[in-house]
Each structure stands twice: as structure tokens, then as C-alpha cells.
């Protein structure tokens, strides 16, 4: 069985190829070739972030979305419909995604406690979970 670390290493060359391929596909937004200066780069105050770094970040988000079960084409489209600023925000957010995989017993106990608390806060008008609580 391959452990996570060696699996990650295996993917490095794949990643590099992906990044190069994406650079080629970037077109007017990439800045890899001269030509037209995009609206986006023209309004960006912070010019310090290099285009390579932005492309890398997009490749990382794409990988992360694929790990969440999206196919490559859909993951690419989702990343491509975001501005650089939005892509950076998403990259930061994806890192915080919960890992999941809690034990069932813990989940049932927690759910019971949470139910009672939410019932109370619903009655107090702080939350809006249960349709049977009149608000």
C-alpha cells in the first residue's frame, strides 16, 4: 500500500506537467506571453504576486476539488470561473475543510446534546432549526 507521503511525491511530476499545461492554456489572463494586458491585472493593486504563483495556486485548488470527488473537467471549470482574489480566498478556505470520519457513537451522543441545545436556542429565538418551534 502506498502511504500518503510517497503518494504526494509521486504526484509532483504530474503537478509540474499540469502547471506547464495550464500556463499554455491561460491565454490573455496568463501573462506568460506579452500581448493584451487583462482587465484583471490592470486593476490589481498588488503586482508582487507572480503569474507563476497564481497558476500554481489554481492548480492546487483544482487538485483539492478533485480530492472532494469532482472530475477534472468540472474542477477546472470551477477554478476558471473565479478571479485571482477569489481563488486565493478559496485556497485558504479549502485548507480548513473538516476531515470527517468521526466514530458513530461520538456522533450520536453529540447529535443528542446538540439537539437539546438547539431546541433551547430555537425557543429563545437565536436559531431557526425546528419548524415545530413557533417563532
Amino acid at each position: 500500500m502506498i502511504n500518503m507521503r510517497s503518494a504526494k511525491k509521486l504526484f509532483i511530476p504530474v503537478r509540474i506537467i499540469l502547471v506547464i499545461a495550464m500556463l499554455g492554456l491561460m491565454g490573455p489572463h496568463g501573462g506568460a506571453s506579452a500581448a493584451i494586458i487583462s482587465t484583471e491585472s490592470a486593476v490589481q493593486a498588488d503586482q508582487a504576486r507572480s503569474d507563476i504563483r497564481k497558476v500554481l495556486e489554481r492548480a492546487e485548488i483544482r487538485d483539492a476539488l478533485m480530492k472532494q470527488g469532482l472530475d477534472a473537467a468540472e474542477a477546472t471549470q470551477r477554478v476558471d470561473s473565479l478571479t485571482d482574489a477569489e481563488a486565493v480566498r478559496l485556497a485558504n478556505e479549502i485548507e480548513k475543510l473538516p476531515a470527517g470520519g468521526n466514530a458513530l457513537v461520538v456522533a450520536v451522543v453529540a447529535a443528542t446534546i446538540v439537539f437539546l441545545i438547539l431546541l433551547f436556542t430555537d425557543i429563545a429565538g437565536y436559531t431557526d432549526i425546528f419548524p415545530f418551534v413557533k417563532k
Binding site: 489572463h29 470551477r78 477569489e86 480548513k96 437565536y126 436559531t127 431557526d128
Partner: protein, 316 residues
Amino acid sequence: MFRLFRAAVICLTIGLFYGCASFDGARLPPSDSLKVPPHNEIGNIPFFPQTDYQCGPAVLAMGLAWSGVRTTPDTVAPEVFTPSLKGSLQSAMVGAGRRNARVAYPISGMTALIKELAAGHPVIVLQNLGLSWAPVWHYSLAVGYDLHDRIIILHSGKTARKQLSLDVFRRTWARSDYWGLLILPPDMMPATAQEDVYIAAVIGLERARRWNEALAAYVTALNTWPSSYAAHLGMGNCYYALGDLNGAETVYRGMVFRFPEKGAAYNNLAQVLAEQHKYPEALAAIRSAIRIDGAFADEYRKTLDEIKAKMKTGDY
């Protein structure tokens, strides 16, 4: 009891906010200072009841349908839903709006929400119906309000026109840091529009390669902010992306008169001139850009080199 809880968890989205951020501007000022009618409800918004966990697709489909896109929750689900998360990320809602040729404009706070509803624009809102440490994330579509009765009207879950007290709504919305989203056709301006936010939203349309709609949205921007440099440049760039070199040239020519201190317009003008084999003019334009200098100086020099190379190969 567990089943009951499950049933109550209408729709779980992975909210990415931990705890509520600032409340500034969140509370409504007295209704007369808002300058909105005391109540308004937007009619003619189709209602799609959601299925399990599918509040994102249902709400987005309603917003899109209101804006004139013929769609259904099942059609948009593959563009927003992430099965492993049993939910829809906010960025996917934004992106899917653009992929359906609509301007996805973010708003935040109760005042902006009421103003948009008063202007007849429904607002997608992300609520945490639970608590910050026991989140139940849920998307709804706000469709109306009544300031006198202090209620908000939502298309939410399986309920059309759900009436909820403004206070309860505000608490559930605050937990997403008041995350709201407008889905607008490109000829419609948000009531609370800010220039930089609107331009960023249109750049998103460019990102999604919806050049025709981005072009229309830049025109809308110029109606509101006639001197917007970004909207002018965006217009030119959309024409260019659409292969309309004449259209692009006209816009860039206007820009170098209007914004003579901006090198990017000269650079892009030089590029479209060169592509039309108008080399002497292209050279003059790119030299102006290089004289201006600035953040894109390297790009200007690259453009100059490319023009020279093209001239050498005799590509006339």
C-alpha cells in the same frame, strides 16, 4: 430523536466561517432613513423546493430563473454541488452564476439586503441556522420584507414565501458574516453597487469566458461610472477576446486620449494595431507605453519585441 434531528438539518453546506465577524452596519437603521418603501415583495420568482442537502442548487436555480435563465436545480447541481461535502461552497455559487452568463455580485449586511429587495433584486443568503460551533449551513433566497411587521420573506427549503422575524433572520445570517449574492443580468446594476466590486464581478465573467455578457456589463458600468478606466479597458479586452479587432481598436484609441497616463491602453492598442499589420502606428503606441513605464513595463517591452519580430518576418 436522531431522525428528527436529521429531518431538521434541512441542508448542510460547509460554511467556511468560524464565529461571527463584525456586526458593523449589520443592524438596520430606522426605516425612514433607509429611503425604501415599508414593505416590498418581488413577485414572479419561480419556486424550486429543495431535495436533501440541495439548497444550493435550488436557490441558485431560482435566482437564475428570476434573471431570465431557463434552468432547474438538477441542471445547475453539477456546477455547484460537491457530493463529498454534502453541500455547495460559496465560490461554486459565484462561479456557477457566471457560467450561466450572469453577474454574481456579493453584498453584505441588513441595509444592503433591504435596499436590494426594495429595488426588486432577490438576494441569495447563506444562513447558519444552528450555532457557530454546531453549524447548520443553509442557502435561502430573500424575496421580500416588511419593516412594519419586522419580517423577511424567503424562498427556503421546501417553503415558498417563508416569513421569518427580522431578528431571528439577522442572527442566522450574521453567522456567515452576512454573506449575500445577487445574480443579475448584465444590463442591470445593483442598487448598492460599488465601482470596484462591480468591476471585479464583471472580471469574473471574463474569467468564465462569457465575453458577450461581460461586454454588456462593462457598458452597464460605464452608464453608472462614465469615467471608469477599468470598464473601458474591460470593454476593449472583451471586443479583442471576441475577435473584433476594430471594436477593440476604437475603445483603446478613445482610452489613450482619455487616460493618457495609463500605459496598458497604449500596450493593448499597439497589439491590436500590430495584428492588423498597422506596424508604424503600433510602434508609436508601444513606445508611448514604454515612456509611461509602471508596473507593466516588462510586458510593454515584450510587446515591442514581438512587433519588431513580426515586422522582420515580413508578415504584412
